[in-house]
């Protein structure tokens, strides 16, 4: 069991570790916070932390697993299908390359730095139009799209926000 002080220390360490992660470039989506944009509720200071023995309230009130009841059609995930639509102005049938990421950072120079490990789509686009779908596993709301040319020019970059399970990029 954690005491109140231990919990405070733990919380501090959590904050510190988040900062370290951020410094290490593991986050994404904006200059300071990990976008990745997972809607993960950050654990709040538990009111039960005021109890003298420091018991975790969720543990003391914990349901036995055999008493837990789900709805008959609940899938135990929050996955959803997302549609991506890209429309950019190019010469006829000109080829471009689409990259879509979930993790990225904004650098001091204003450019985005994507984590290539978080790429969920790499597509070839002809004629400036691209449609596809993918499964969003984490209710993520923000994404980074890059559109690359075949030359060595810097790509188009845009942070996209999910609207009704659609992502749209027009330029």
């Amino acid at each position: 069991m954690l005491t109140t002080n231990q919990k405070k220390i733990t919380s501090l360490l959590l904050v510190l570790s988040v900062c370290l992660v951020s410094l290490n470039g593991c986050g994404g989506g904006g200059e300071e916070k990990a976008s990745g944009a997972v809607n993960t509720p950050v654990p709040q200071n538990d009111t039960s932390a005021n109890s003298s023995d420091g018991d975790n309230s969720s543990e003391t009130e914990q349901l036995d697993i055999n008493e837990l009841v789900a709805e008959p059609d609940f899938s135990f995930t929050t996955k959803s299908q997302v549609s991506l639509t890209v429309n950019i102005s190019v010469q006829q049938q000109e080829r471009r390359h689409i990259n879509l990421y979930t993790q990225y950072q904004k650098l001091d120079n204003g450019n985005y730095y994507p984590d290539p490990n978080s790429r969920i789509m790499r597509g070839v686009m002809h004629g400036g139009h691209y449609d596809s779908t993918f499964i969003n596993t984490t209710s993520q709301q923000s994404y980074l799209i890059e559109v690359w040319n075949d030359d060595l020019s810097f790509p188009l970059q845009q942070e996209l926000t999910l609207v009704n399970n659609n992502l749209s990029f027009t330029q």
């Binding site: 490990n117 790499r122 790509p155």
Partner: protein, 736 residues
């Protein structure tokens, strides 16, 4: 500074102790202490007056330890004595035997019996005996044991043989066979020398010549030569030698000297090393970065794999890499492997922003921390190495700090499919795809070589994972620790013109928390078995191609299951066969940490491409099944074998499933309602969880480990949809 004014340092770690030592600047009158341990670092003594250097043989990095050993002389023929942990050597200026302790100050010893006015440059220590050699003079030994009682005790050199005909500048004792080894500078021949008789045997030619002034062994029996002229460190593999090795076996050895690292140029030198020490000391934080491509690419230290000394200045990506003790293997790579008490994915500086298409240019974005030199290799013919002609596609390109856009030309005959690449960024140039470097980072990246105009759709991302967690007691609901089988899992769909032409699936077995034996398979719903190209279907276990999904005696099980309307690929018939566990279970009992041992990759090509609209959704239908002929619970009178499957909730089983099992015990499946694998409380026996989920420890329910799972379930996912995150867990109930 006089001898008695020296600080006491502690072996190779003395720099770490320096601040503390300065704080306690006590002048001592005692003689030097021996080293406190067997150091992993090699010591090089050179010059007149002599200076001592510490050399990291792994990377070639070196640093000055002491430029004033208390005598104005050259010390040569040095060797580390593991019995008393002093370094012994010969003062070639004053013809004296000397030794140095952890303070690196020379202490003259009282030796007689050597020829007058002869100096010795070749020496080493073994079994508390110092051996000296001089061509055309003789081979001598000195018993050092009298020094145990009295460091001024008289010592006497004994002549082993006056026949000393071979041309050596150093030799070193092999830690396992007790023989001396040395290389002739002029011919490059490698000799074995019998320390009892002085007789020698010419093993073979190393292929290298020059003044090899310092020679060392490591505990595995690898022999290292440092060449004075250019500082190159070579390695000869003598690791197979034992006391029982015959001369015939010796003569059959390949003793080629392989370039290992770049060390310091030197002269008037000699080297000493504690031969029983490993090259990398795992008791201290590692400052070396290794790659993580499969071992055939030269990744592990034993394979002379690519590695770099971390300098916190020269690296790829936004953050410096973490230190490694060796290269990593398998799908997990070094993403999560703990070294130095920390770990993170440091393969983040190279981004393949366009596909690698045969005959076309591909754009790669490389982010450099500072100016430096980049080289990169691509296994274009997918034969498991980077050594073929044309596979170094980037040669010593200078990068600027920040983003660098590079173009490479993919060979028109590049073999389409999955392969590997290696990027090495350093302040050095002329690096090969193997060997050590004194700065920078190595990043190994899996690549897909494709024909033109292919797109890729990743689930959950190119290098991300979902975690599949199974309870294998179905149709009984039991402890709900969701760790009977835990598998990390990702998929890639390869798309051309909005049609999927191939599906690749990778996975890593994380845990087995039950006695039952289970196989693992994936069903591709609505993809006909006949539409799978069996000629190019490929399954790898730990990077090794498999012909079958399992064998037992003369029985074999195919990868693509027959007589299935929907395509079903079996990854393994018995996951317990893929691991060895020293515990009852595998990675579920607290305190029973074991390395991850099994990963797989399967590539499933379609004969007729499938439109995106008709493709089943990732992750498709991964499931476990009972291993044939083995017990799987009291519910079943007979061993159910392949007819027992456990799927994610509401995923229908395959045609091999015995539908008579529906409704047994706690199961409430009802195919008429498309309801499968749920309890009466609608709970599942299998779950798909985002990310690299930490599973509950043995017999701790998912609710105990993740209390917010309750709200997540009861709200149908509207609340606490991050219940599975590490910071939501009660860590007391997790395996790790």
């Amino acid at each position: 500074m006089k001898l008695n004014q020296r600080l006491h340092f502690v072996g190779t770690k003395y720099l770490l102790w320096l601040p503390a030592a300065l704080l306690s600047l006590n002048v001592t009158t005692t003689l030097a202490d021996p080293f406190t341990q067997c150091p992993s670092k090699a010591f090089l003594f050179q010059g007149n007056p002599v200076s001592s250097y510490g050399i990291n043989l792994v990377t070639g990095n070196y640093s000055l330890i002491e430029d004033d050993v208390g005598v104005s002389a050259n010390i040569n023929g040095v060797g580390f004595n593991e019995q008393d942990r002093y370094i012994y050597g010969f003062n070639t200026t004053h013809f004296q035997l000397t030794r140095l302790g952890s303070d690196f100050q020379a202490q003259n010893l009282n030796l007689s019996g050597l020829p007058q006015n002869k100096t010795f440059y070749v020496g080493d220590v073994a079994n508390h005996t110092y051996y000296l050699y001089r061509k055309n003079t003789g081979f001598y030994k000195v018993d050092l044991s009298p020094l145990d009682q009295d460091d001024s005790a008289p010592l006497t050199a004994q002549l082993i043989t006056s026949s000393a005909t071979i041309n050596l500048t150093d030799f070193a004792f092999h830690p396992n066979d007790g023989k001396l080894y040395g290389v002739d500078n002029n011919s490059g021949d490698l000799y074995q020398i019998n320390p009892e008789t002085g007789s020698h045997f010419t093993i073979g030619n190393t292929g290298e010549t020059g003044t090899f002034g310092a020679m060392y062994f490591d505990k595995n029996g690898y022999f290292y030569l440092s060449r004075n002229q250019d500082g190159k460190i070579y390695r000869i593999d003598l690791s197979s030698l034992t006391l029982a090795t015959t001369q015939q076996q010796l003569g059959e050895l390949d003793v080629s000297a392989i370039k290992f690292a770049d060390g310091p140029n030197s002269n008037q030198n000699d080297g000493a090393r504690c031969a029983s020490a490993p090259l990398i000391d795992e008791d201290i934080p590692s400052t070396i970065d290794f790659g993580d491509a499969p071992s055939t690419y030269g990744t592990l230290l034993s394979d002379n794999g690519a590695r770099h000394q971390l300098d916190n200045v020269t690296y790829l990506g936004l953050a410096p890499p973490d230190g490694d003790y060796d290269g990593y293997q398998g799908a997990d790579s070094d993403d999560t492997t703990i070294a130095n008490g920390e770990s993170y994915d440091d393969e983040d500086g190279v981004n393949f922003v366009t596909a690698l298409e045969g005959g076309l240019d591909s754009v790669i974005s490389v982010y450099a921390s500072s100016a430096g030199t980049l080289s990169a290799w691509f296994d274009w013919n997918r034969d498991g190495d980077f050594s073929d002609e044309g596979e170094q596609s980037i040669i010593d390109i200078t990068l600027n700090a920040g983003a660098n856009m590079l173009a490479i030309r993919v060979p028109i005959d590049a073999d389409v499919g999955s392969s590997w690449s290696r990027f090495r960024f350093s302040q050095q140039s002329n690096l090969d795809y193997f060997g050590g470097s004194t700065s920078g980072e190595v990043e190994d990246h899996p690549i897909q070589i494709s024909s033109a105009n292919l797109s890729y759709r990743y689930y959950p991302s190119e290098s991300g994972w979902v975690t599949l967690a199974y309870e294998d007691q179905w149709p009984e609901s039991e402890d709900y620790d969701m760790n009977d089988v835990v598998m990390r899992y990702r998929t890639t769909e390869v798309i051309r013109d909005n049609e999927v032409i191939r599906v690749d699936i990778s996975g890593e077995l994380q845990a087995i928390g039950g006695y039952h034996h289970n196989g693992f398979a994936v069903q591709l719903l609505d993809i006909e078995t006949d539409n799978i190209n069996q000629q190019t279907l490929r399954l790898l276990h730990n990077n090794v191609a498999q012909e079958y999904s399992g064998t037992h005696g003369g029985d074999t099980w195919p990868i693509l299951e027959a007589e299935q309307p929907n395509a079903v690929v079996a990854i393994s018939q018995d996951l317990w066969k893929q691991v060895n566990s020293s515990c009852v279970f595998y990675r579920t009992e607290i305190g029973c940490d074991q390395a991850q041992q099994f990963d797989f990759e399967i590539s499933i090509p379609f004969i007729t491409p499938v439109s995106l609209a008709e493709m089943p959704s990732a992750p498709f239908d991964p499931f476990i099944f009972a291993t044939e002929n083995l017990y799987h619970g009291e519910t079943f009178q007979n061993h159910p074998g392949r007819s027992l499957e456990i799927h994610l909730a509401d995923h229908a089983p395959t045609a091999r499933f015995n539908s008579d099992f529906f409704g047994l015990q706690d199961d409430t499946s009802d195919p008429t309602l498309n309801r499968y694998f749920r309890t009466s409380n609608n709970l599942p026996w299998a779950m798909e969880i985002p990310g690299q989920w930490s599973w509950p420890s043995e017999r701790k329910s998912i609710l105990q480990a993740y209390p917010r799972f309750q709200q997540f379930v009861e709200s149908q996912g509207a609340q606490d949809n991050g219940w599975y995150e590490a910071d939501q867990a009660d860590s007391n109930h997790l395996f790790e």
